[in-house]
């Protein structure tokens, strides 16, 4: 049986992913697909943004 992740876990992982994605944009890199997915962002749509 799998346990439903807690709100705290959700917030923590979202914040961690937001941090990592923001750091990547700062360094002109593309954020990791796993971080984008945690944030509810489709990595293909993100890649379509021209920078």
């Amino acid at each position: 049986m799998t346990r439903k992740p807690s709100l705290f876990h959700d917030l923590f992982s979202m914040f961690g992913a937001a941090n990592a994605a923001a750091a990547a944009t700062h360094e002109s890199r593309t954020p990791r697909a796993s971080d984008l997915k945690t944030l509810g962002i489709d990595p293909r749509q993100y890649h379509a943004i021209s920078r």
């Binding site: 979202m14 914040f15 937001a18 990592a20 923001a22 750091a23 944009t25 990791r32 962002i41 379509a48």
Partner: protein, 505 residues
Amino acid sequence: MDTFMLLWQGLAVAVQPINLLYALVGVTLGTAVGVLPGIGPATTVALLLPVTYKLDPAGSLIMFAGIYYGGMYGGSTTSILLNTPGESASIVTALEGNKMAKAGRGGPALATAAIGSFVAGLIATIALAFLAPWVVKFALAFGPREYFALMVLAFVTVSAAFGDSALRGLTSLFIGLTLGIIGIDLQTGQARLSFGVPDLLDGVEVTTLAVAMFAIGETLFVAAQGKRAPETVEPVRGSLWMSARDWARSWKPWLRGTVIGFPIGAMPAGGAEIGTFFSYAAEKKLSKHPEEFGNGAIEGVAGPEAANNASAAGTLVPLLTLGLPTSATAAIMLAGFQQYGLQPGPLLFTSNPQLVWGLIASLLIANLMLIVLNLPLIGLWVKLLTIPKPWLYAGILLFATLGTIGANPSVFELGMLLAFGLLGYGLRLFHFPIAPVVVGLILGPMAEQQLRRALAISQGDVLVLFTSPISATLLALAALALIVPLILRARGKGEVLAAVAADND
């Protein structure tokens, strides 16, 4: 005196015609650089540092803050209409905003971004006004050891905690700290790292380093990316105004974005981008229509745009009250204060209340100017994108060089500008953050001075740093800020490897 009275007095300073003019110039420049991809508020403020050192401090700082706020506003326009964010804090806005523009809803997307920025800017500036005196009251109890601990916390968070690599961040920080050592030691009179060069005895000018890193290094990096694909502007079809449904779907994300962005901006090295990503994720989780995300959900524009403006105000809390820069633009603004001989921190609120409260009050006015400038003049801002990029980059390099030479007419200074510019370019090329270099140069000598004072008081006993509850807590937080991200990254790598293994199975 209560906050309302101080804010009222600040308004009296901010509405002086000359200060209104500085605010207008600031928000106009800020919006323009926000619109132009590759140039951010940090670059613009860095460029203006050498040319504003003879102007009135209050007016210049009002202009710098206007540039910061304006950059956050302007970035959304190109995100929505071109799918090309002018500012890294507007990347998330492009996800839903450009989809809305393609569906013929560019007007409401621009409107919710502008009104959301206004609402967030207003609430966050008021929050700044009310929070600042509390932080100042707390910070007045700080002695040398507490200040040293606070700076250690700032060093760790700026360089190691929030980047993708602690090693790269710390390397950048140590470059800055080393540059900060150059020159005559004020306590002993010894020349340090000057290698017998008389021009180095005065140390490295923060302005020169900031202009070199942010204007020259950044411009070389952007120019070296080569030609971009031709950009297509989505025309704004239909009304600019939002429907009743758009308002109903926007107001909660505006408020949530403000609540998310403000504290993240105030966190050391928080940066506006974290708030925008977090706000987007939160809006998608809380939305009644999560299926619309990715196809033009207005909440995905309203929340992140509010978050990035709120974070700009949040950044000013530690900058003004503690003298701690938490973002690249804040680091350059700190250099701006220092070029007038002003040191942001609790004492500035008592020694120069008119300047501080005038600056805070001017943010309210700048916010009002921005909404008037942005929505009706969208066509004009988009036209800025037709400026040929080589002209733009060459113009920045020329302006940076002339500005530095004007402020410090010396061939050696020009050589340092170019050398640091190339260093900045190299750092950007190899994904080293550049803000820690500037922060190291600014805060390094201050941290050293506070440490020496603390050790002089304790007669050399290092344990004195841990016997004050405040400094011990700050140092413990610094240790956590260094260790926890390392563990999280290691765990993240483990999870990725596990996921790869599971995929292979």
